[in-house]
Symmetry: C2
Subunit: 211 residues, 2 copies
Amino acid sequence: MPYLDRTVCSPEPIDCRILTAALELFVERGFHKVSIHDIQKLSDVSIGSIYKHFGGKEGVAKALYDHLLNEFDELMDKINQLEASQIEKSNELIKRLFTYTESRRDIISFVFHAKHNEFLPDESLICDEKPFLAMRSIIEKGIKEKEINASNPIIAGAIIFGSVIRLIQLRLDGVIKEPLEQHYDEITFSIWNGLGKKIKNEPKLKVINQS
Amino acid sequence: MPYLDRTVCSPEPIDCRILTAALELFVERGFHKVSIHDIQKLSDVSIGSIYKHFGGKEGVAKALYDHLLNEFDELMDKINQLEASQIEKSNELIKRLFTYTESRRDIISFVFHAKHNEFLPDESLICDEKPFLAMRSIIEKGIKEKEINASNPIIAGAIIFGSVIRLIQLRLDGVIKEPLEQHYDEITFSIWNGLGKKIKNEPKLKVINQS
DNA sequence: GTCTATACGCTGATAGAC
DNA sequence: GTCTATCAGCGTATAGAC
């Protein structure tokens, strides 16, 4: 996957150099604490060129956002092409996200850790973007096919990927010391089978075991 | 609970007026898009006074942060005084958070939706603050007392409260249309009993039913 | 303690040379 | 297409009157 990477592309095209530098800075300091001059310095591309290519700082952020969402969407396509149950597809996604959290933390950080609406005001919510709709659609199918036991796909999605995103954030913040891959089995098991022991609604549990 | 509230305190002390206005603005636009002049206008307190009281915009944000964390900490104290299992305590917290999300969305938004490290650089991570440690401690006890079935309290906490925080965010963003209280039963059930139907590790499920 | 007016620096943006 | 020099505006912070 041709992710933006400062170390890989050496005589990179100029717009790639800009985006790569911007990603690094945005993740490190946050959008608002990065100036055009900072991007200019790190990318070694003149301010004029930055304006020519992207029309300003917001334009750089938007291009970066679109580019990374596109990469993420391609990943979702691959996952959707798998011959697998919806839960297996979800788990594959979780595994890949954990791997990227270690290998490309800047990308994961920008997509999942940033408050995009603060610097992309016109942008629709990230959860309405294509790859996130694909995620939701997996959950919907899972519910329809009685694989996932929930009444509402949005809520089910929030529970599943809320957990995953939180784990990723804690890992990025250094609260979790070990790579998340290491906890993959426990996490997916917990998500799909629950953490609880004391069960109030006994009847419902039986539904879970049935079929 | 004496939360900051513009409508309640009418001839408020000056510092309360500043904090209340700041909270409103920070939540609406985000910290970086609010200027001292904006706070001055809304609070109707002069810039000089704002500097005297809080030493600047960051100072206002820090005071707000401390104040709200303190309120949250008092809530955790109350919950910890309940004669209840750890799961019941967690559920009580979840219920209260859902209620506040409807009644005091600004507070919830500032505490859970903001990226504090972007404007409070020296501040420790929010998950290391007192009330969050109290949350973690509930989980730890739950695991020790074999109430919660997990090996690692941080991961268990991430799964439980990651879900909850995500739901709150989706509610604040308007993606979830109904008040979360309405989904409380389904959510807590899903969190504690899992979403999955196909269970790979049959043995572990039996452990869940036991005792 | 509270306020107003002002200074200064930084940032985004442009114009024009190469 | 790429760059440099420069400008205008905003936002923080202060000094000093009341």
